[in-house]
C-alpha cells in the first residue's frame, strides 16, 4: 500500500472519531428506556439496612448487560423459595430482581402480596407491619410501569380493598387502572368500591357505565363472550343495587340499636379472650386492633422492608375479624408463640374493637345500611368518619395486662 493511501486512511480514521463521540452523546440519553434496570454496582449504595448478597455468577451477568437474564433466573429461584416456605429469603430477591429489571410487573405484584399476606403468626394472622412496605413496593412498581393497568389494580383491589378496607383509595387506583386498557372486571370493581363507600347513586351510574362499555365492545367484536358475560353480570348487579336502594331507603328513620359491648380478659401470659355482643346477623365480623398506644403507621419515602421490630400491631380486620354468631362474638388469642411479631415492649397498649357496616355482608347491611345509616347505640356509636356510623370501643391496657 502506498504511503499516500496509508496517510489518507489514517486521516479518515481520525476524522471518524468526532462522529463516534457525537453519536455516543446522542445515544446516552435514550439508552435508559432500553436499559431501565440498574447494574449491581450502582445499587449497592442504596441497600441501606437491607443487604442483598448476589451470587458472583449473577454479578458477572449484570456486568455484561444481562440484567434481564439474571432477573429471570433469580425469579425462578425465588419461586423455589415460595414452594419451600423460605419466605424470609424472598423479599431481598424481589428487591434485587426489580432493581435489575423494573418492568417485571409480576414480581412487584407477587412481592407486595407476599409482604401483605405471607408473614403470619401461629394463628395465620398477617404481620401488619409489612402493609406499608407492600404499598410502597407497589407504588414503586407503578412509577416504573405507569402505562400498565395491572399494578394500579393490584394496589387497589388486593391491598386497599381486601387488605386494608380503604375503599376511597381502592376506587382512586381502580380508576387509574381503568385508564390503561384494563379487562372488564376492573370497571365492575369500581362499582363495588363505590358501593362499599356507600355512594350508591355513583355505584348505579358505574354499573350503567359497565353495561355501556360491554355493549361498545360487543359492537366492535360480536364474538366477544367476555363482553357478553360482563354485560350480564353488570345488569344483574345494577338490578340488585336498585332493589337494595329502595329497600334500605328508610333505615335512617328506624335505626337498630346495636347493643354493642366488648371485653378483654387475660387468660395467661400473652393469652387473652375477646368477647362481646352486637345486634347484627350471623356472618358479619367485628374488627380488632391491638397496638402500642403510640403506634403510628410508618412513613416510608421509598420501599424498604426494614420494619420496626419493637412495634406491636395485631390487626384483625377485613378477611380476618371475629365472627358474630347469634348476636355474640368471642375469640381466644394465644400470642405466646409469636414474640417476634408481637414483642409487647411498650408500657401502654390500645385495644380497639369495632363493627364497620361498610365491610359487612349484604344480610347485615340490610339492617345497618351501606354506611351505618340504620345504626344507633347508646354507648359506643362512632361518627368520627364523616357520613359513616359505626360502633367502636377503645380499651387501654397496660403491659402487665397482657404479659
Amino acid at each position: 500500500m502506498k504511503l499516500g493511501t496509508r496517510i489518507t486512511l489514517a486521516i479518515i480514521a481520525v476524522m471518524l472519531i468526532p462522529p463516534i463521540v457525537g453519536l455516543q452523546k446522542a445515544i446516552d440519553p435514550a439508552r435508559k428506556q432500553f436499559q431501565p434496570g440498574r447494574g449491581v454496582g450502582s445499587v449497592m449504595t442504596d441497600m441501606g439496612n437491607n443487604p442483598v448478597v448476589l451470587p458472583s455468577q449473577f454479578v458477572a451477568g449484570t456486568v455484561i448487560g444481562l440484567q434481564e437474564v439474571v432477573a429471570g433466573l433469580l425469579w425462578v429461584r425465588t419461586d423455589e423459595f415460595f414452594h419451600s416456605g423460605n419466605y424470609e429469603a424472598i423479599i431481598p430477591m424481589v428487591r434485587m430482581i426489580t432493581w435489575l429489571d423494573p418492568h417485571m410487573v409480576d414480581v412487584y405484584s407477587v412481592g407486595a402480596w407476599h409482604l401483605d399476606y405471607n408473614f403470619v403468626d401461629s394463628g395465620q394472622r398477617a404481620d401488619h407491619r409489612y402493609v406499608v412496605p407492600a404499598i410502597k413496593f407497589l407504588e414503586e412498581g407503578i412509577a416504573n410501569n405507569p402505562s400498565i393497568f395491572d399494578l394500579y389494580f393490584d394496589l387497589a383491589f388486593v391491598h386497599y380493598y381486601l387488605k386494608i378496607g380503604n375503599f376511597e383509595k381502592a376506587e382512586e387506583y381502580m380508576r387509574l387502572a381503568a385508564k390503561h386498557n384494563p379487562p372488564f372486571y376492573v370497571y365492575r370493581e369500581i362499582a363495588h368500591a363505590l358501593e362499599k363507600q356507600g355512594r350508591v347513586d355513583d355505584a348505579i351510574k358505574q354499573w350503567q357505565e359497565c353495561i355501556k362499555i360491554g355493549q361498545e365492545e360487543l359492537a366492535r367484536n360480536p364474538k366477544d363472550t367476555g363482553a357478553v358475560t360482563h354485560i350480564q353480570v353488570s345488569k344483574r348487579n345494577l338490578d340488585s343495587t336498585l332493589i337494595r336502594k329502595v329497600e334500605r331507603a328508610n333505615l335512617g328513620s328506624r335505626p337498630t340499636d346495636m347493643g354493642f359491648d366488648a371485653n378483654f380478659k387475660r387468660l395467661g401470659p400473652r393469652q387473652f379472650l375477646i368477647s362481646g355482643k352486637i345486634n347484627v346477623p350471623d356472618g358479619a365480623r367485628v374488627f380488632l386492633t391491638l397496638t402500642d398506644s403510640d403506634y403510628k403507621e410508618p412513613t416510608l419515602k421509598n420501599f424498604s422492608w426494614d420494619v420496626d421490630t419493637d412495634a406491636t400491631a395485631l390487626w384483625e380486620t377485613q378477611i380476618h375479624g371475629i365472627s358474630i354468631n347469634k348476636g355474640k362474638f368471642h375469640k381466644k388469642y394465644d400470642l405466646s408463640k409469636d414474640i417476634k411479631q408481637y414483642p409487647f415492649k411498650k408500657d401502654k397498649y390500645t385495644l380497639t374493637l369495632w363493627f364497620d357496616p361498610r365491610c359487612a355482608p349484604i344480610s347485615a347491611q340490610d339492617i345497618t345500611g351501606w354506611k351505618g345509616e340504620g345504626i344507633t347505640d347508646k354507648q359506643y356509636l362512632d361518627t368520627s368518619i364523616p357520613g359513616v356510623k359505626m360502633v367502636k370501643k377503645v380499651i387501654t391496657l397496660n403491659r402487665q395486662d397482657i404479659l
Binding site: M1, R6, L9, A10, I12, A13, L16, I17, P19, I20, V21, L23, Q24, K25, A26, I27, D28, A30, R31, Q33, F34, Q35, P36, G37, R38, G39, G41, S42, G61, V63, I64, G65, L66, Q67, E68, V69, A71, G72, L73, W75, V76, D79, D101, H103, M104, V105, D106, N145, S147, I148
Partner: protein
C-alpha cells in the same frame, strides 16, 4: 472478488470448527431448555423465556465471535498459509477484509440458527403467535458482535490468540459498563482527572452497552420513544467504529513483518 473468495473460505472453515459448533449446539439446547420454566403465569413464562433466550444468544454470540476473531490472522500465520496466499496477487488489505467478512458471515449464520430456534420456542409458548419484534434484539446483538469482531481483529494483528482473548474480553466488559463510566465522567464531587479519564473511556472505548435493547422486547407493553432512531444511531455507530478499527488493522497489517 478476491476478498469474497477469502470470506467464503473463512466461512466454510469456521463452520467446520468443532469448538464453534459446540458453542452453537449448547446455545441452541439452552434456548430450547428455557421452556422448562413452566411453573409461572403465561406472562412470567414468556418474560423469562425471552430474556433467557436473548441472553443466551448474546453470550454464545460473544464467545463465538471472540474465539473466531482471536484466531483469524494468527492461525493463518501459524499454518503458514498466509505466505502462500500473499505470494499470489492478493493485497494484504484484501486478505484482512476477506477474513473479517468471512468471520462476520459466520457470526450471522450462527445467530440465524439461534434466532430461528428462539423464535420457534417463543411462538410455541405463545400459542404459535410469532413475535417478529424479537428479531430487533438479534439485530442489535449482531451489530454488537460486528463491533466486537473488529476489536478482536485489530488485536489479532499484534498479539497471540491467548492474549487477544483476554484483551478483547476486557474491552467488551469495559464497554459494557456504560452506566458506570458515564456517571463517573460527571459529577461535581469528582476530580477533573478522574472525570477526564472516564470521559475518554466512555466515549472512546467501543460502547457495547448501547446494543443491550432486550428490555422493551421482553416487556412489549413498555412505551419507547424514537425506537427506530435509537436502532439507527447504534447501527451507524457500530459501522463507523468498526471502520476506524478496520483502518487501524489494515495499516498495522501492511507494516507487519511476515
Amino acid at each position: 472478488m478476491t476478498m469474497l473468495t477469502i470470506a467464503k473460505n473463512t466461512l466454510g472453515e469456521a463452520m467446520r470448527k468443532k469448538i464453534l459448533n459446540i458453542f452453537l449446539l449448547v446455545a441452541l439446547a439452552m434456548i430450547a431448555f428455557a421452556v422448562s420454566f413452566a411453573s409461572f403465569t403465561m406472562r412470567e413464562e414468556l418474560t423469562i423465556i425471552k430474556s433467557f433466550g436473548l441472553g443466551v444468544i448474546a453470550i454464545a454470540g460473544m464467545f463465538i465471535t471472540v474465539m473466531l476473531g482471536v484466531n483469524l490472522v494468527p492461525q493463518e500465520v501459524e499454518r503458514r498459509t498466509i505466505y502462500t496466499i500473499l505470494s499470489k496477487p492478493v493485497r494484504r488489505w484484501e486478505f484482512l477484509l476477506g477474513k473479517f467478512f468471512g468471520a462476520l458471515a459466520t457470526i450471522l449464520v450462527n445467530l440465524a440458527f439461534m434466532a430461528v430456534v428462539f423464535l420457534v420456542t417463543v411462538a410455541w409458548k405463545h400459542q404459535w403467535q410469532p413475535e417478529w419484534a424479537l428479531l430487533k434484539g438479534v439485530l442489535m446483538i449482531f451489530f454488537q458482535l460486528f463491533l466486537l469482531s473488529s476489536v478482536a481483529l485489530v488485536f489479532s494483528i499484534f498479539t497471540t490468540p491467548v492474549v487477544n482473548f483476554f484483551l478483547t474480553a476486557g474491552v467488551y466488559i469495559v464497554g459494557s459498563l456504560s452506566d458506570v463510566t458515564l456517571s463517573m465522567s460527571h459529577g461535581a464531587d469528582k476530580s477533573p482527572i478522574v472525570k477526564g479519564f472516564y470521559w475518554l473511556v466512555h466515549y472512546l472505548v467501543p460502547n457495547f452497552a448501547n446494543f443491550f435493547t432486550q428490555n422493551p422486547l421482553i416487556h412489549p407493553e413498555s412505551v419507547i420513544k424514537n425506537e427506530l432512531l435509537y436502532y439507527a444511531q447504534n447501527i451507524i455507530y457500530a459501522i463507523i467504529y468498526a471502520s476506524v478499527l478496520l483502518i487501524i488493522a489494515i495499516l498495522a497489517f501492511e507494516r507487519k513483518d511476515m
